[in-house]
Structures are given as C-alpha cells and as structure tokens.
C-alpha cells in the first residue's frame, strides 16, 4: 500500500517536474508550451 501511494505521489510530482522543464526549455528557445497554429 505504502509503495502504491508513493508511486502515485511520485508520478504526480514528476509530471509537474517534466511540465515545468518543458515550459522552461521551450521558453528559453523563444516558444510557449501551447502551440498556436
């Protein structure tokens, strides 16, 4: 049970981490995360 809870929490935390990483790296290249075709 402890492992499953840890996994779900870690999954959410890492999703936020990668989202922020993507935003920062797109931003550094002059782009936004949301593509406006």
């Amino acid at each position: 049970m402890k492992s499953i809870v840890s996994f779900v929490v870690a999954l959410a935390a890492m999703a936020v981490f990668f989202l922020l990483l993507d935003v920062a790296l797109f931003n550094a290249q002059g782009l936004s995360l949301i593509f406006k075709g």
Binding site: S6, M14, F18, D22, L25, F26, Q29, F35
Partner: protein, 631 residues
Amino acid sequence: MRLSSVVNREIPIAKRWSLTALFLSFFLFALPVVKPADFFPAGPAGIDTVYASEEAAKPATPAAEGEAKAAQPEEKKKEYPPAPKLKESDYPQVKYINGRIMTWMAAQLHLWFAAFVLAVPIFVFIIEAIGMATKDKRYDKLAYEFIKVSLTAYSITAVFGGLLLFTLIVFYPDFMKYMANIFSPTFLAYALLFFAESACLYIYYYGWHAMETGFGKWAHLTVGWMLNVVGTMLMFFANAWVTFMMSPHGVDANGVFEGNLWAAIHNHLWNPINLHRVIANVAYGGSVVGAYAAYKFLSARTQEDRAHYDWMGYTANFIAIAALLPLPFAGYWLIAEIYAYSQQMGITAMGGVFAWLFITQAVLIGALFLSANYYLWCGMERSKGAVKYTKYIKYIAFVIVTCFLVWFTPHTLILTPGELKALGGPYHKYLGPLGIMPAKNTAVNIMLLFTFLSFMLYQRCNKIPTVSWASIGNALQIAIFVTAIINIGILGIYYGYFTNTVYKVASSVLQVASTLSVIILCTVINIFMYKGAKEVAPLQWGKMPDRSQYALFLLAVSFTWLMGLMGYIRSALRQHWHVYTVFRDSSPDAYTPTIGYAANVVTVATILFMAFVIFIFWLSTLSGKKEAAHR
C-alpha cells in the same frame, strides 16, 4: 631504493599536501582562465565568417584578382595571399598511387589510433584516482594494464601521423602551403606539445611503480593529469584545422587571412567537434580496451586470469556505455551547428547524398546498443541475486529492438516504377512517418533510457538495500521512468508531427533534457539507497559465457567502422572544396564517390586497423609473459 621512499622521507606531510594542491590548482584553475586570444596577434576588426558561395570557384581573371588585391590593406596583401586557384596539373601525381585514397587511409588510421591513445589516459587517470581514494590495489593494476596497451598504440599513432603529413605534402603541396600561412604557429605548438605528451606518457608509464606510494603517488597522478591536458590541447589544435576547412573563419571571401589566428581556430564548428570528439574518444577507447580484455579472457588459462579480465572487460564496457549515453546529444549539437553554419551542408549530410550513410550509421549504432546491453545481461550471471530481474530482460530487449527498427527506418527509398506503383507513392503508408527525425529522436531517447535501465538492474542485482525507504525509492525511480517516457512520447508525437518545424526542432532539446534528468535523478537515488547495502553473495568474476566476450569484440568493430563512415561524411561535406567556399579542390579526385565505394575504402581501413590492434594485443601478451617470468 624507490623514488617514492626518497620523496616521502624528505618532504614533511604539510609541505607535501601544499605542493600537491599547488600542482593540481595550477592545472585545474590556471589553464582554463588563460585566454588563448592573449597569445595571438589581434587582427583587424570585423572579421566576417565566409558563408556558402560559389564566388571562389570562379576562374581567376586578372581584373578580379586586381579588385581583390585593391580591397586589401597594403600590409595584408604582402603577408597573406588569397587562396590559390589551382588547376588539375598543380597536383603532383605518383605512378600507381592514388593520392586521395592514400591520404584518406593515412588520416583515418591516424585518427583511430589518436582517438584511442587520447582516450585511454582519461579513464586511466580516473581509475588510478579511484584506486588511490579506495586504497584498492585492483584499480591500480587495472589502470596500469590499460596504459600499457595504449603505449604501443602511441608509437603507431605517431607513425601514421608522419605518414599523413608526408602524403599531404606530396599530394597537396599548395593546400598545405595555404594552411601553413594561416596556422603555422599552431603547427609548431603542435610539435612541441607532442614532445610534452611523449614525456608525460613515458614518465607516467615507466614511473608507475617508482611512484606508487605517498607523495610519489600524488606526483604520478599529477603527471597523468598533465598528460590529459596536453593530449586534449593537441586534439583541439588538430580540430581547429579540420573545422577551419569546413567552416572557415578569419578569412575573407577570397581566402585572404585577416591576421587573427584565434578567429581561424575558434571557427563555427570548433567547439561542437571538440565536445563530440572528447566524448566519442572515451567511448571508443573503452570499447577497444574492452576487446583487449575479451581477447585476454578467452586466452586465459587460469581462473584467476579469467576473473581479472572479466572485471577488466566489465569496467571497459562500463566506460564505453557511460560515454555512449551522452554521445548522441553531442552529435545532435554538431549536426545542428552544421545546419546553422550552412543549410546546404546540413541538407547534403542528412537529406542528400549522404542520407543513406546515416541509415548505415543507425544500423551500427543499433548494433552498439544491442551488444552493450547483451553484455550486461550476460554479466548478470555473475550474481546469484540476478534471478529476480532476468524475467524483465525480454521486455527490455523487445523495446530496444523496436526502437532500433524505428531508428533505421529510411525516409525515402530507391524504388523501381513498379515498386513505386505498388507502394502507392514514395512513402509507405504506415512506415513513412517513422522515417523522419521526431520518430528517430523519440526512439533513440527511449533506447538510451532502456540501456540505462539494463545497467541499473545489473548494478542492483547483487545488492540488498538496508535503508528503510527502499520501497519509496523504487516507486520514485519507476515514476521517473514512466513520466519521462510519456513526456518524450508527447514531445515526439504531438510537437513532432502536429506543430510546425520550429517546435519540432525545439522539442528535441526537451527530449534530451528528459533523458538526462532520468539518468541523473536515478543515479542520485541509487547512490543514497544502496549506501551500506548488503551483498547477496560475492560476485563470481570469470563466470561469464565465452559468447559474451564476442559482444565486446562487436562493440569495438562497430565503433571503428562507425567512426570511419561518419568521419568520411564529415570530411566529404566540403564536397569539391579544400576549404569550404574559399579554396576549391581542382584535383582529379575532387568528386564525391558513391556510398559503396566510400564504404569499401572505410571497410579496408577498418580491417587494417583491427590487424594492427591484434598485433598490439599480441605484443602486450608477450611483455606480460616476460614480466611473469621475471617475477
């Protein structure tokens, strides 16, 4: 009497430490802050990069030459001539010898050996330092054996370097004269650095046992550090010459040198090549010493020797994989900079005449990944605790093979009209989308992650963590892998196929960052989680199937062949130019050969190199026998 004991007696401990700190701080801090520009005469302001143009290809006319000369300051005109406009008859011919093939072979063989002898001291230095820190004699013995292999290779490197120089002077005298006009100070510096490197290498090797303890060991390590600094500087000089030929800087459109040597050295592609070659050399050096260990493992007569060479092979494979993981990113940066410098050059490389060589490259890189992974999986047999992970190997193999297939799916095929009709167009309905970069970037990043996963499983199979939060650590690591793969997938599919090119290119940087994040975060977690871990049972070194050693041979051969083919692409991107857009190649061989022809030349060179390598291994065995008899 040993040199180390003399040194230890005469120098008190405090003084010994301060001297050591002084040595290391000089090389760590002083060298990087020295600006090379300070040593070179400053040229006139406003040095323009010469971009792709056919201007320099136009035949020389007296009027054009007059205009060019009038545009130059009087002093420069006298000192630095424009790039010569040569005719076919200006290139000396030697009966029965093709100058281009001979130069190509000499350059290729020199480069392979140079890569090897520059890389080995890097990890020998690191292994020696680890041995010193852990006080484990095995590391010292291993490092010594690695450097012993590179010592013989060092002489052969110099021989091929000499051969290359002579072939260039004989077959391309005007080109060499032009390069010497610009780079002569670096030619001299190169020769002096070569002396320094030889001195460092001989002291490092022959002084190994004399400087084994105490301050002597620190001094020895410092010599190893100097050997690496000098070797790297040598390579950076050579890189400046080859990259100047690709992306000339510090010269005008007629090839007239502006007088600023630093500008010519620090051209557009210099740093990308520097980074790529340092990393690639380490991976390559690791693979060649891995082949040496495999050779010794297979010919070992005692269990003790098998155990030693098994461990050596494992360490060499670890070095090769550790450098192989970031290598695609350095390669990506290099090709991105080639595109940035000249789009024509970039398209020639990846979308034009050399595109199919990139497919060959993909196959060879796939072979590298598969053999490195296979070796790790076989290596699990050393541990009794591996049983719990072996069931996962088939899934990892499936993912890596799938990524490998995507990685080498070509975009365009050479088709007959009948095949074209049957296919319904030039691209396959389902496989066509896999031929472009977003699919390949996604595949290679996932392939890297799963190779790292193989390595993680190998590392932990013989350990039982003792920390209370081990289950949380495992959950965190799985979450890191899962989210990173989802992120890489979204970046590859959504931004790669449903947005414009700017996003497509930009998202590849994010994919790289995701992969690196996984490697860094999981390594940090592992370090803390396995601190004070218990062993399942002592690792059974030497208990490896013989077939695993052939994976090490495959690794070395694939690396060599790959370097030859990709090196050919890098050099051939200049097409009919000695110095791109500035100095035209008018020799009878100034054409791009077919891929089959180039591959044959590289293959013959690879076989020659391997023959030399086997000769070196054999020599090392002879000296080993002599040492054993002496003992």
